[in-house]
């Protein structure tokens, strides 16, 4: 059933593309800078972090933020790198709760594979990610240096994060139809999840200060993704293979569970939304 669903989804790729295009156009329609906002926001953020961490906290770097050749990576870049990967995941999961209930007007009037809606949400987050990624790449080249061949892992790492996000999106978008609390709950939950992921801190930092927490952090399926993402993008190090493999397994399980729940409940969407 899951496979049949995927097949149908694949056949609706034109509709999916149109919905993604709609999301992106609508987001910046009527603004003066338009699509440039997707670049401006991360640029301003990276500048802000650089200023705060360099001049206010006087944090130069953290233990992990060292390239394989020994160069130190500015903390602002290190932090921003983790944030870019996290934002992709968190915005996809966070906006998925509205993807079905926000499209009631379509569900009631036409048939299309319902999973197109959460998929389009995830994909439009991926487009935003591409903008942030380009700012990150520019900042890394400017302040850190060129990446090495490890950067070829980047698509795999992002894909694992996206599969995890899509699996959760399927689950959450379906559950929200029946229980609207989820939309509120997920916002708080993502905040907690953010602090439970090594974005603003590094794994070595935790290892030194409270080694007992390392195991718990490693259970978080976003840990391996964020750590590996930073490793290959700015540290010229290989991904954390062990954690990344674990994340990939969790992501595939999430996708199957999400698809199963979504597949079972989608028949009722048009009646309830």
């Amino acid at each position: 059933m899951v496979v049949a669903g995927m097949d149908e989804l694949l056949r609706s790729r034109e509709l999916t593309a149109n919905l993604v295009r709609r999301d992106l156009k609508v987001r910046h329609r009527g603004t003066f800078l338009g699509m440039l906002w997707s670049l401006t926001t991360p640029l301003l953020l990276v500048g802000l972090y650089y200023f705060i961490f360099t001049y206010i906290f006087k944090v130069k770097t953290v233990p992990d933020a060292v390239r394989s050749d020994g160069t130190e990576v500015p903390f602002a870049i290190f932090f921003f790198g983790g944030l870019v990967m996290w934002n992709l995941f968190a915005s996809a999961v966070g906006s998925s709760t509205g993807s079905i209930i926000g499209s009631g007007y379509l569900l009631n009037k036409v048939y299309f594979p319902r999973a197109v809606l959460p998929l389009a949400t995830v994909l439009s987050c991926l487009v935003t990610f591409a903008f942030e990624m380009s700012v990150l790449a520019a900042a890394t080249l400017l302040f850190v240096g060129f990446p090495n061949a490890q950067v070829l892992w980047l698509p795999v790492i992002v894909l694992i994060g996206v599969i995890l996000a899509f699996g959760l999106s399927l689950l959450l978008s379906a559950v929200t139809v029946f229980l609207r609390d989820v939309a509120h709950f997920i916002g708080v939950f993502l905040q907690l999840w953010f602090w439970g992921t090594p974005i603003i801190y590094s794994m070595t930092f935790v290892q030194t200060n409270s080694p007992g927490l390392v195991r718990a952090l490693e259970l978080n399926p976003m840990t391996g993704v964020v750590v590996s993402f930073r490793n290959v993008v700015m540290l010229n190090r290989p991904p954390d293979y062990k954690l990344l493999l674990y994340d990939a397994v969790v992501a595939v399980i999430a996708l199957f569970v999400g698809a199963k729940v979504f597949g079972r409940w989608q028949k009722l969407f048009s009646e309830i939304v």
Partner: protein
Amino acid sequence: MGDIAISCVGVWKSYRIYHQRAHTLKEKVLSRAHRYEDFWALKDINLEVPTGTTLGIIGPNGSGKSTLAKTLAKILNPNKGSVTVNGSVSPLLELGTGFHPELTGKENVFLASSVMGQTKRDVEGRYDSIVDFAGIEQFMDIPVKNYSSGMYARLAFAVAISVEPDILIVDEVLSVGDESFQLRCWDRITELRAEGRTIVLVSHSLPTVHTLCSQAIWLEDGAVKEAGTAVEVVGAYLANVHASVAEEAVVAMGGRHGTGEAEITGVAFLDGDGVEKPFFYTGDPFSIRLQYRVHNINTALVCGIAVYRADNQAYMFGQNSAQAGIELQSSGEGFVELTVPSLPLLKGSYLVTLALHDSTITRVFDFFDRKHYFGVRDHPDLPVEGGMFHVPAHWRAGSSTVTV
């Protein structure tokens, strides 16, 4: 593509009517019982629509027409039974499905078309004709939220009728547009029909179903009451509608009395070809034929006929055979027929009083007071008129001075 475009096997569909729906966790936990009842909107629908058929779905409000249309379009899933559809389906249940107010007309054409299952290549080929049809070339690059409602409707309509699916499912909502929209819509449906596409049309407009559809089904309380050719089903449906209005009146008014020396044995309402029918169109030939048997009378037999409106009991007209100089056979069995060459009555249900009496109406042999009924529909070729009668008349107009 197979011979059968749509097949429904034992389709049941229920809605839960929640007395109080729990939307949040608190409500779910705190309300002891989830109070709802099941309402069966479709009960055991079996249907086979051959490819190329134009199927009309008729029935009173709340009979399940729209639910059936949505089930065929896969928008709703049946609780029991299965719907198999052969080919691509586009439902037209509403104008402007998939439109987003912030997007431009052009963007919306592509978005809405893809929502309705059309590919980009299809739409690119038809884009110019869609714009032509809507007649708003100069506005295609501004957001539709800035359109007037007329412009919006025109564009939405142009997109809706540009779709070319194997199976088109149209709900009557499409017919809310103004007259020229409707005409274009029917033109388009006729075109699609000629191309051999399958069309399912949900409609309240019986003349539409009558003229556009080859087959029809009549739904009543979620079940198929009658299925067959559109002409048959519409006829049966109309007869039933008139019957229900008239029967109420009959219960209130109807009665029979008389000496029984002569007896009415049968009544028939006939059209111009002498075919018995339950309803007629204004302006068409119409006859009432009465069969009778005389037992024992020694005077002239006269037949009287009077027609009343069923809804307000207004007396429309009354005549008898003696006034017309017709003599009735005063022994054995016979018939008498009143023919109206061009029926002047307008749309409605009518009750008929039939009487057999002597020439002075002092002795009444048999008298049916408003027990038989027939229906009249507006003639499709005549303008809709007010009042109860179509009166043949002509108009004249000119400048200030009247010329003879």
